[in-house]
């Protein structure tokens, strides 16, 4: 591999990883705070893509506004979903929550996918780009569109991180993720935190779908691939470790870029699995996972 290619691969891996981070973060957050292994996370990514398509290409909004609209749309859908489905399940099912909620999300994913198909059909709704032009970085041409997508992702991650660590609401979310009953004792309204957490996670997925619209046009079954990637990252860094997903996303981005370049496309799933098997053999709780056992152990 010559030197110029190394730079290209590095850049491609970073661009790729940045968006992985955004998608995986929401999944990790929902798991860490609510103990829901969300199989419908990819569907919110899909909703985000549709929202931004309609906002940008149909209603002619400015790209940034379109992406924000998608985030807002994801937030609202997430809130509705949490209030109706998950709250009902929480009231009724005390035992075996992790597995039951997982299966609930499987059902939701079927409903959302097919509703999208019934409503808008199987047409690919995409755009060629939000922003025109390209710039040369390290000898490689990168379209401004992709850079902007990456920028949006990083800005969102940063804002979210500040929210989580610096605000009172953010602190209560973290408190719940660490110790549910303790949080309840100090007067945190669990139901409110749950709804907020789920909505934020869906918002993050929605923004990711919107930011990637020029690469991934909106269509009903588009959510499975990003879902798989996000799960991969979450397992890699340790379940429920929100901070770790940032590093994990970039690692996966790099690994995939490298395996693509050296082994050819089509083998990256196999390589990724090997990596994860090796990590799990030596550190079953994931790269940054704590060895403390949670309720989701069973």
């Amino acid at each position: 591999m010559d030197l110029s290619a190394t730079g290209d691969i590095l850049l491609s891996g970073i661009l790729r990883g940045g968006l992985f981070v955004l998608i995986a973060m929401g999944l990790s957050l929902v798991f860490g705070v609510m103990n829901i292994p969300n199989f419908a996370h990819g569907e919110f990514y899909m909703l985000g893509a549709y929202f931004s398509y309609y906002a940008y290409a149909v209603f002619g909004l400015n790209p940034i506004l379109a992406i924000m609209a998608a985030g807002a749309g994801g937030f609202v859908c997430g809130a509705i979903m949490e209030r109706t489905a998950f709250r009902s399940l929480r009231v009724r099912q005390k035992t075996n929550w992790v597995m039951n909620s997982f299966l609930l999300t499987v059902g939701l994913s079927i409903v959302l996918q097919n509703s999208a198909q019934a409503l808008v059909g199987t047409k690919f709704m995409g755009i060629s780009q939000y922003w025109q032009g390209s710039v040369a970085i390290m000898g490689m041409n990168v379209s401004i569109d992709r850079l902007a997508g990456f920028g949006v992702a990083m800005a969102t991650v940063l804002l979210f991180w500040i929210f989580l660590t610096k605000t009172k609401t953010g602190n209560s979310i973290r408190a719940v993720s660490e110790d549910e009953s303790g949080a309840m004792l100090v007067g945190i309204n669990l139901n409110r935190v749950y709804t907020l957490t789920f909505s934020i996670a869906c918002m993050l997925a929605g923004i990711a779908g919107a930011a990637l619209l020029s690469i991934n046009p909106a269509y009903p079954t588009m959510g499975l691939a990003p879902l798989y990637k996000s799960w991969f990252i979450v397992i890699l860094v340790g379940m429920g470790n929100v901070g770790g997903t940032i590093i994990g996303g970039f690692i996966v981005g790099m690994v995939e870029a490298l395996s693509y370049y050296n082994l050819g496309a089509g083998w990256q799933d196999v390589i990724s699995l090997l990596v994860i098997i090796i990590i799990l053999l030596f550190k079953p709780s994931g790269l940054f996972g704590k060895d403390v056992k949670g309720v989701w152990e069973r």
Partner: protein
């Protein structure tokens, strides 16, 4: 107590079995279809039930919609009548899944009692339904499923599969030679002086992508090209820069690609410009994606593709009529070719009726094997191709070549495709991309 539980379970199950066996299916059809597979419609003034096999639900439901539109329009030309027979359409939903398609086909063959069936989209569905058609002795005309697996199966047991009559679409490999001819012509005429004769392939890992790549590589090697890279990526992958970088670094001056999924194809086209690929691009099938220009923008400039066009007057008329009637634009394949295939079938049915005075599974099967696959009957009134004909050598594919079944090579510029090959259809000369000048 346990005993009673099982009693209830038994009752419910018996009801279910009952329901599924004798239930609502038959209520829709007061006169149950004959169980032994005997065709209905021996008497004059009868109905000819024509099954249309296609993906009417699922990821490819758009194809199904176009199929039905094309079939209805072709039937209208005959006023849905052949001789004493009134034609009736029975939709057979493959759901893009071979197992479900077989089920649906059996349903149509037995419960609906179809006399004959036409069309079909996927190769895997074709391979599964060939058996269903043969078992039920229903002749099936002109399925699309192009991949080699269909040919292999058919040629493996021609007697048994004689019910699978002809394919609308030849094995994809047979068509791609046109690209090589276009490029060699450009080189001969001095339009392009390639810096080397190195070529690379980047295709989606599907039956389609693999067949195209294999055939293209064969023709290119024959023409003196060296294949320096061959990449296949997973269905739906959209991050292709690393792969494209590898291809750029192989210094290929010609890149062949074939992808079925729209997001992948759009990404491939856009990212090949992003990594600044210094090569002439073949993107086989880009134009099949209705929204291709919306997705790729001007990054699709100079790309070569092979797509039949609405060139003739009749085809433009069909396009217009179709849009007026159904409110959406059909593709030349699922719309145009399906219309031609249906018209060809109707011509055969008419000829069969004239000869036998009767239309049934037996007569159509016998007639098709005696007259159609031998090349005796050809179809010249197509709107997409000049002539559809089968011969002993070509079967199950139609005869491929100029004057028969051929896709012109087109080059894209600002969202428009112009025919650059063959000379008889040519609208303009091949233009060298500006980044290679």
């Amino acid at each position: 107590m346990i005993r009673k539980q099982y009693l209830v379970i038994l009752l419910v199950l018996a009801m279910v079995v009952n329901f599924s066996l004798f239930g609502c299916g038959d209520s829709a059809d007061p006169d149950p279809a004959p169980d032994n597979g005997e065709p209905v419609g021996d008497e004059p003034g009868q109905v000819l039930k024509v099954g249309v096999l296609g993906p009417f639900t699922g990821p490819n439901s758009r194809v199904g919609e176009e199929f039905i539109g094309a079939v209805e329009m072709a039937f209208d030309n005959y006023d849905s009548t052949i001789g004493d027979y009134k034609l009736e359409i029975v939709q057979i939903d493959s759901q893009s899944d071979p197992e479900k398609a077989t089920r649906a086909y059996e349903d149509a063959a037995i419960r609906d009692g179809i006399d004959v069936s036409i069309l079909n989209w996927h190769s895997s569905v074709a391979a599964a339904c060939m058996d269903a058609a043969a078992r039920n002795q229903v002749p099936h005309f002109f399925g699309f499923g192009a991949a080699d697996i269909v040919n292999e199966k058919y040629l493996g047991d021609r007697d048994f599969y004689s019910y699978w009559i002809g394919k609308t679409w030849p094995t994809p490999g047979k068509l791609v030679q046109a690209y090589v001819e276009t490029i060699e012509q450009a080189i001969d005429e001095g339009v392009w002086e390639p810096r080397n004769k190195k070529a690379a392939m980047i295709c989606e890992d599907t039956d389609w992508g693999r067949s195209i790549a294999a055939a293209l590589m064969e023709y290119l090697t024959d023409a003196g090209w060296e294949i320096v890279a061959e990449e296949y990526f997973t269905l739906g992958e959209t991050e292709l820069t690393p792969t494209l970088l590898a291809i750029r670094n192989s210094d290929a001056s010609l890149v062949g690609s074939s992808v079925a999924s729209a997001p992948s194809f759009a990404s491939l086209v856009k990212q090949s410009r992003e990594v600044d690929l210094q090569a002439v691009m073949i993107a086989d099938g880009l134009g099949w994606i209705g929204e291709w220009y919306e997705l790729t923008g001007d990054d699709s400039n100079y790309i070569l593709d092979q797509i039949p066009q609405w060139t003739t007057e009749e085809s433009k008329q069909f396009l217009q009529d179709f849009e007026d009637r159904y409110g959406f634009t059909p593709s030349t394949s699922a719309g145009g070719l399906a219309y031609d295939a249906t018209s060809f079938f109707l011509q055969i049915a008419q000829a069969c009726y004239d000869e036998h005075g009767e239309l049934s599974r037996e007569t159509l099967h016998e007639f098709a094997n005696a007259r159609v696959i031998t090349g005796e009957i050809a179809f010249d009134d197509g709107i997409i191709m000049e002539q559809y004909v089968f011969t002993e050598e070509s079967i199950p594919d139609p005869v491929v070549g100029e004057g028969y079944f051929i896709f012109p090579v087109i080059q894209y510029l600002e969202g428009e495709g112009t025919v650059v090959w063959p000379d008889s259809f040519k609208q303009a000369d091949f233009v060298l991309p500006e980044y290679l000048r």
